[in-house]
């Protein structure tokens, strides 16, 4: 009742509900300050420089630089040379360059192509690892992004991924079905698990106004304890403590490449689902309604769209996608369920969706980037001793910078979209959720 769909004092919500505006903020559905005069003098270069792609690039570069500072500052050799910095600064810079470049080269080698590898298979294994790790990230990122565009902050990716993994594992070991069918059933089980878990938050939001951020955070924790209990139950437990029975081979996602590689059909599935989500959001009437509710719930209600139904639908679809992410984890790579399988995919997915600006293509690319960082981070840790935690720092810096376009623009002196004269501190996208906090 006290909700205001947009921030007070923001620009009038004058944009059409049709195609998504080319917003430079991470969350679609915001109001873009309208360019008063888009004159012909505005050069092509200006348009390129003010585009969101340059902004993304700038954010990545900034994050890498800050990460380098962190690597250099904690490197023992650099610290040694810093003690005689004024006597011979070149030593310091050489050491600093070596520390940072070694780490980043290892990161690259672990993510794309390992030029130090002894065999061809080992050399190209990193890129397939990147794709494998990216698979659940893309799916979960699509899930969070879909929620964003429908005006919902689904922080509960983690819980939904867990429930998806549980659903897939259960159907994967309990049923005895022919090859293709079993996989399909297991994947549907994963989607259903996630959808039900997210649906709880959706129904509560629609019926009681309970804020989805709080409810999904709580559901995350509940799911975490639930799986911890479940893997020790008689029905799920295997001989290894804390690990479930193995999923039958009929339910596993087929490998795309022979054995040393882990890449599986799930990656193709993720790409296909990304296309499906694009179609759903951009071409279907359900997607239109979802976006309408996300852009302006009041206007959508006036137009005859049931906000409550869309809220539940958005959460359920979003949860199904997250559940599928959990499904690809256990059906693609792990083959069994344990409390640790899920890792922090659900939280990483939030950053993936933000980086991908909630659009399917962007999310796929962001998922690939984060998959590359995760895959490369492992090699970096073993080769140069730079902790894997650096990847988290890089990820969070990237998202922070992307979320604040004026900051990146002022650092790189990029022009703002629209009129070049317009001050960059303009209105940004408003909160996609109607309001944070539990408005009863």
């Amino acid at each position: 009742m006290t909700t205001t769909p947009s921030s007070p004092g923001a620009a009038p919500e004058g944009e059409p509900l049709g195609p998504e505006p080319v917003s430079d903020s991470p969350l679609a559905g915001g109001s873009q300050p309208e360019a008063p005069q888009q004159t012909r003098t505005e050069s092509f270069l200006h348009q390129v420089m003010s585009s969101s792609w340059v902004l993304t690039l700038g954010a990545v570069v900034l994050a890498i630089l800050l990460g380098a500072v962190l690597i250099v500052a904690t490197d023992a050799e650099v610290q040694a040379t810093a003690s005689y910095f004024f006597a011979r600064p070149s030593d310091f810079f050489a050491a600093a360059w070596r520390a940072a470049s070694e780490a980043y080269i290892a990161l690259f080698q672990g993510a794309i192509y390992d030029s130090n590898a002894t065999s061809f298979v080992r050399a190209i294994r990193p890129i397939t690892e990147t794709l494998t790790i990216a698979t659940p990230l893309i799916l979960a990122g699509l899930s969070i992004g879909l929620g964003f565009r429908a005006g919902l902050f689904n922080i509960g990716g983690q819980g939904q991924v867990i429930l998806g993994a549980i659903g897939a594992t259960w159907l994967g070991f309990a049923l005895h079905l022919p090859v293709g069918l079993h996989l399909l059933v297991a994947l549907l089980g994963a989607a259903a698990g996630g959808a039900i878990w997210a649906g709880i938050a959706g129904v509560l939001k629609a019926r009681t106004g309970a804020h989805e951020v709080i409810v999904t955070i709580m559901l995350n924790n509940i799911a975490g304890f639930f799986v911890l209990w479940l893997v020790y139950t008689k029905y799920f437990a295997s001989k290894t403590p804390g690990v479930s029975k193995p999923i039958q081979s009929t339910a596993m996602l087929p490998k795309l490449l022979p054995d040393p590689f882990r890449l599986h059909l799930g990656f193709v599935l993720a790409l296909a689902i990304a296309v499906g989500v694009w179609w759903l959001m951009e071409r279907s009437s359900l997607g239109f309604k979802l976006r309408a509710v996300g852009s302006n719930a009041r206007a959508a209600r006036t137009a005859g769209i049931s906000v409550a139904a869309m809220t539940v639908a958005a959460m359920a679809i979003s949860g199904a996608l997250s559940g599928l992410a959990g499904g690809t984890l256990v059906l693609g790579t792990e083959g069994k369920l344990s409390a640790a399988v899920v890792g922090s995919i659900g939280f990483d997915a939030i950053t993936v969706a933000l980086l991908g600006r909630s659009k399917p293509l962007g999310t796929v690319l962001a998922g690939l980037l984060f998959g590359a960082l995760a895959a490369g981070g492992r090699l970096m840790q073993t080769r140069t001793g730079t902790p894997l935690d650096l990847v988290l720092v890089l990820q969070s810096f990237i998202v922070l910078f992307i979320a604040a376009p004026p900051l990146v623009r002022s650092i790189f002196r990029l022009p703002a979209p629209g009129s070049g004269k317009r001050p960059t501190r303009a209105k940004q996208a408003t909160v996609p959720t109607e309001q944070a906090g539990a408005a009863a």
Binding site: F153, S396, F397, A404
Partner: protein, 431 residues
């Protein structure tokens, strides 16, 4: 706005006034909840095994020793059940008289029901229920939650959603451990921890107030950032350099006389400085938020920033300052994990406590008083896990661990009365 507050309207069905004065509906939710609780308690009393519950009140350090009490299980459980039933009856009496059921009554019924649980699980067993230890542990587990929740109260009251409580706690824990180790005194940790919290809060404020980035996004990302940053530094600098991360201990400072009171003394007044600071902050905030000029401005900015701006309150500055204050409080709470627990810093050692603190704040309805009560409740749930495993109760500990989260969901869904966030929360202010 529309609380369950009921005007003292005459329930008399005056035929003339009936058409003009809308009839106040009888609100039976609370009494019905209590009636269900009575039933549950009765079931528990019925299920209580014959025998005695042994309760130990004194701790070894007490100067006045009280011998452990042996309480007969089933009779005690039935007495408690009667207590809950009486409370439920009183609640019906209040509700039918169109009056608000007082909170203390609900609290009392809850206490009786809880004691029944204790009797149920301990009756007829040889293990002793250490009441004082249970309460001490409750406060211990609740301490970081109280700090985190108070941080949330301050930030959200001024209109900034603080999802980064977890990050502030973690960074506070980190800074406290490192600075205390380097300085050789745990008290330095108590100075460093709030500063670390302020650093995280400054990022939150900078992005969400100055750049108007969505506050929830910034909070989520800051949590990741601090996990990454502290993890990185932990694996590099702290591991390579000895003396940067030693377990430090905040000395216990018993308050003379007060600490000798049975039960209350050891629990409340045989604590370290951090806990005493917590008492001061809780009381200070409870008074200041609702009774001072600062508090009025704080709430005004969080509820209706435009109105606050109109009367000359600088919304942006108020939000900045109080977000930093909230960060300082949460950061100080982070010291609990290291210097107040006699531990060195470990990766992700806050383990989601920041999110439980967030839940405690909501359950406490954005007031310091309520946040403390909720934090204690969560702390008690944590303690019960330990007790139940000692008493070999066949309930998986994971389900007990879920309780705080389930309770919070029920609370925000409105099953436990109306919960309302500050109106302007999460919305950037644009002049």
């Amino acid at each position: 706005m529309t609380t369950t507050l009921t005007p003292p309207a005459a329930p008399a069905p005056a035929p003339v006034a009936a058409s003009t004065v809308p009839a106040v509906p009888v609100r039976l939710r609370t009494p019905i909840v209590l009636a269900v609780l009575t039933l549950l308690t009765a079931v528990m009393a019925w299920a209580t095994r014959p025998g005695h519950s042994t309760v130990r009140i004194s701790t070894d350090a007490d100067s006045i020793q009280i011998a452990p009490l042996a309480i007969p299980g089933p009779p005690a459980a039935w007495v408690l059940t009667v207590g809950v039933a009486v409370a439920a009856g009183l609640a019906f009496w209040y509700a039918l008289g169109r009056r608000k059921v007082p909170t203390w009554l609900v609290g009392l019924a809850g206490l009786f029901a809880f004691l029944t649980v204790l009797v149920l699980i301990s009756s007829g067993k040889s293990q002793v229920v250490p009441i004082t230890g249970l309460l001490f542990g409750t406060l211990f587990l609740a301490t970081p939650l109280v700090f985190g929740a108070l941080s949330g109260v301050v930030c959200e009251r001024v209109g900034i959603v603080n999802i980064a409580i977890e990050a502030q706690l973690l960074f506070g824990a980190f800074a406290a451990a490192v600075v205390a180790s380097v300085a050789g005194s745990s008290y330095w940790g108590l100075i460093a921890a709030p500063l670390a919290g302020v650093a995280v809060a400054a990022l939150l404020a900078w992005f969400s107030i100055t750049y108007q980035v969505n506050q929830i996004i910034v909070g989520v990302v800051l949590n990741v950032l601090v996990v990454g940053l502290t993890g990185f530094l932990f694996s590099t600098v702290l591991r390579e350099t000895p003396g940067l991360n030693d377990p430090m201990r905040l000395p216990v400072l018993p308050i003379p006389l007060l600490s000798e009171i049975p039960v209350i003394g050891p629990v409340l007044f045989r604590q370290n400085l951090l806990v005493y600071l917590m008492y001061a902050i809780v009381i200070g905030l409870q008074v200041m938020i609702f009774r001072s000029r600062w508090g009025l401005r704080l709430r005004a900015v969080g509820e209706h920033p435009k109105a606050a701006d109109t009367v000359g309150i600088d919304v942006i500055r108020t939000r900045w300052r109080n977000t930093l204050l909230g960060g300082a409080i949460a950061g100080l709470g982070g010291a609990f994990f290291t210097v107040a627990s006699n531990l060195a810093f470990g990766k992700e050692m806050t383990a989601g406590k920041g999110f439980i603190a967030l839940a405690a704040m909501i359950l406490g309805r954005w007031s310091p008083k309520g946040a403390v009560a909720a934090a204690l409740l969560f702390g008690l749930a944590g303690q019960m896990q330990g007790l139940m495993s000692t008493l070999q109760v066949p309930v998986p500990s994971q389900f007990l661990a879920m309780i705080p989260y389930i309770v919070t969901i029920f609370a925000v869904a409105g099953f436990a009365g109306k919960v309302r966030a500050p109106a302007a929360e999460g919305i950037p202010y644009v002049k």
